[in-house]
């Protein structure tokens, strides 16, 4: 079986997957990288209804055509493209709409369209919990309250409510990513996690690793494998990491899924796993 050509399409310079893949690039064949800023020459400001004119050359399309596209364009923050779109007064949505024909050329995509909240891989916390609960009632989820507009949060049933941003997936020690607006409006509180945090990352169907940010504990790997599979399927992501807390009685509570892989990157096995996974991808293999 032939190796499936792979394009890593990314936006964040410090993206853990990109860093690890670049580190191993010399040992891997047919792995290609494309940063969103490289598309700027093929974009032009245009008036409605066109909004943005794209003139993607054949060579560029060929890089997507038939490839496994590891779509890592989750946010345009800190890119030149962001400034370009701003200067043109064009909403980020239009970039995603215009780049979709390129993604459509891919043979496989690791994540769906990267638009916060609309993409299944970038859902807010409570929406993630909704999908998990709908699929599997037996998975423990955090207790939370979500106020409407400026109304007071109903936190009576929580022992240690913690104000969170619905968008802040992995910030559970102290919330550092909450906007001024969210602090005052549509206030979201979650019962503070108890126990030991355990992160499980997954790359495709077969490569998984556990990360213990605080303390190493014995866990049921089979259970984590099942949780990772569930997250992969519900959040339409071939790559990702899930955050759980193992509580004192040994039960596991699911907190979040993230496609960013920022917490996995510190683990000793992550680098090796990325290399193995990229090296092992094959045209017919499921990802």
């Amino acid at each position: 079986m032939s190796i499936l050509k792979t394009l890593i399409f990314y936006a964040e310079k410090n993206d853990p997957v990109v860093i690890e893949a670049k580190r191993s690039a010399s040992e891997l064949s047919q792995v290609d990288f494309l940063h969103v800023d490289e598309l700027i020459p093929y974009l032009q400001n245009a008036e409605w209804p066109e909004m943005i004119r794209t003139t993607f050359p054949f060579k560029l399309k060929e890089r997507f055509n038939g490839a496994l596209v590891i779509n890592r364009v989750f946010t345009l923050a800190d890119t030149e493209l962001f400034d370009v779109l701003n200067a043109w007064s064009k909403n980020e949505r239009w970039f995603h709409i215009k780049v979709q024909p390129l993604l459509n050329l891919a043979r496989q995509l690791t994540h769906d369209v990267g638009l916060r909240g609309v993409s299944k891989c970038l859902l807010p916390l409570n929406v993630q919990w909704y999908y998990i609960q709908r699929e599997r009632e037996d998975i423990s989820l955090p207790n939370f309250s979500y106020a409407m507009s400026y109304e007071s949060p109903k936190n009576q049933l929580m022992t240690a409510p913690m104000q969170k941003s619905v968008w802040s997936l992995f910030d559970w020690k102290a919330e550092r990513n909450i906007s001024v607006g969210e602090q005052r409006r549509h206030r979201f509180f979650v019962e503070s996690p108890k126990g030991t945090p355990v992160i499980c990352y997954f790359l495709g169907k077969d490569t998984r690793g556990l990360v213990f940010p605080r303390t190493n504990i014995d866990v049921d790997e089979g259970l984590f494998a099942k949780l990772a599979d569930l997250a992969s399927s519900l959040f339409e992501s071939a790559l990702g990491e899930i955050l759980t807390y193992v509580e004192d009685d040994g039960s596991v509570r699911f907190y979040a899924f993230s496609p960013f892989m920022r917490s996995s990157t510190g683990s000793a096995s992550f680098s090796e796993h990325i290399k193995t996974w990229l090296g092992g991808r094959q045209a017919t293999a499921a990802i």
Binding site: N91, V113, L115, R116, V127, Y146, S152, R185
Partner: protein, 418 residues
């Protein structure tokens, strides 16, 4: 067509029970005027039925009987004004909700009595205004402490002068029938769930009031001219525009830094027939913005009227809110269904806007095009709008088809496939 023919019986031939009729209105087809009329009628009939379920004249206590007597005394056109007012709906929805609350019996009774007394007051105010229009000072006014008494629909005010004489005046209107409300008790309410009524309440100067009325009238003129059906929709379904000032001229930047919405606007389901708009007096408020806000919120009123008559599109669990592909904000399921219709209709209106003389000024043209881009974007993101809903129970079966039709139409218009 008159906006207030509320006393004759409904004659509509077009069935408005299916959501299909809403697409006819969105597309402003030849059926639309009849549908708009029919939906209005059905809302009126639903309100009448709800009142008779709540109040039984032959049973119950004094307050029940008094409400019934006061209501029956009103001529049918006045009854209709009560039934179609935002205040009435707000009150009866609280009464219905009381019954479902898990409280002790005493607490339920007290709350129920409070809402019934509000209902009695609503009907009595319309009655007092009716009597005063025939130069009769009612017992209600004779016993009234405040100097101003508003009609429940918000269009007429009885006012007492220093000599104790009551006279009637009319609230300013746009399109002859839509009252602009700067300072009624409803406009001065505080509601923490509201993005508008939770904001600081500053006093409008007379000039600012004039400016706001002028801007809204101009916006309605533009809508009337571009799509008369949408103008008709506004006249039929919006009785009252509540306007609040929360930011002084020059204070926009500072307000935004605090995370406050400067040009917030909303409709709330329990106050149909009214919309709320924020800070239309500011220099930054443009004609394009006013046109969008007026159509956007009025369409909410229309859709809510249809839901009142036919049942909700979807159920909501506020703990779980889908993300709007237009704004990126978490919003309730019902708001996402509304938003789809609203952006579809705004897109349709703004296509006519850009092609018209109104949109010929360069600055306005740029604003209109930007808005068109925004309205279209939510439909063009390669995700089904329907699939974003976080349903807790089965939706009406037509929801998927109706939302899908609108999304496909816009995708085709722009040459994108789903």
């Amino acid at each position: 067509m008159s906006a207030t023919p509320l006393v004759a019986e409904s004659q509509s031939l077009y069935s408005t029970e299916s959501m299909d009729c809403l697409l006819e209105v969105a597309e402003a087809t030849s059926f639309a005027p009849e549908i708009l009329d029919s939906v209005l009628w059905r809302r009126l009939e639903t309100m009448r039925a709800r009142l008779s379920r709540l109040i039984s004249p032959n049973e119950g206590d004094l307050i029940n009987k008094a409400i019934s007597t006061a209501y029956d005394d009103l001529p049918p056109s006045r009854q209709a004004r009560v039934l179609m007012s935002a205040e009435f709906y707000d009150c009866i929805s609280k009464i219905s909700r009381d019954a479902k609350l898990q409280k002790n019996e005493k607490a339920i009774e007290l709350e129920h009595a409070m809402h019934l007394s509000v209902l009695f007051d609503i009907i009595s105010r319309e009655r007092a205004i009716h009597e005063l229009s025939s130069n009769v000072e009612s017992r209600y006014l004779a016993n009234c402490r405040p100097d101003k008494v508003w009609s429940p629909v918000g269009d007429v005010v009885a006012q007492r002068n220093q000599q104790g004489v009551w006279t009637l005046s009319h609230a300013p209107t746009i399109g002859d029938v839509v009252a602009i409300d700067f300072d009624s008790p409803l406009a001065e309410d505080y509601d923490p769930r509201s993005g508008v009524l939770s904001q600081t309440r500053l006093v409008f100067s007379a000039e600012e009031k004039e400016l706001v009325i002028e801007r809204l009238q101009k916006a309605l003129d533009v809508i009337d001219s571009l799509e008369p059906i949408y103008g008709l929709l506004i006249r039929n379904f919006v009785r009252r525009v509540i306007v609040r000032k929360s930011v002084e001229q020059g204070g926009v930047e500072a307000a935004r830094e605090l995370g406050s919405g400067v040009f917030g606007s909303e409709h709330v389901h329990r106050q149909p027939g009214s919309i709320r708009l924020l800070n239309l007096h500011l220099d930054e408020c443009t004609l394009v913005l006013c046109v969008e806000k007026l159509l956007h919120e009025s369409t909410h009123n229309f859709l809510a009227a249809w839901e009142t008559a036919n049942g909700p599109f979807v159920t909501n669990d506020e703990k779980y809110r889908p993300i709007s592909p237009w704004s990126g904000n978490p919003i309730p399921n019902s708001s996402l269904v509304h938003a789809t219709f609203i952006y579809y209709m705004c897109h349709r209106l703004f296509e006519a806007f850009i092609a018209s003389d109104f949109g010929s000024a360069q600055e306005d043209a740029e604003r209109i095009r930007n808005k068109l881009g925004l309205f279209a974007a939510g439909f063009l993101i390669p995700k089904s709008v329907y699939e974003q809903l976080m349903l807790v129970g089965p939706p009406r079966p037509e929801v998927r088809l109706t939302l899908g039709t609108m999304q496909e139409n816009i995708q085709q218009r722009y040459g994108y496939s789903a």
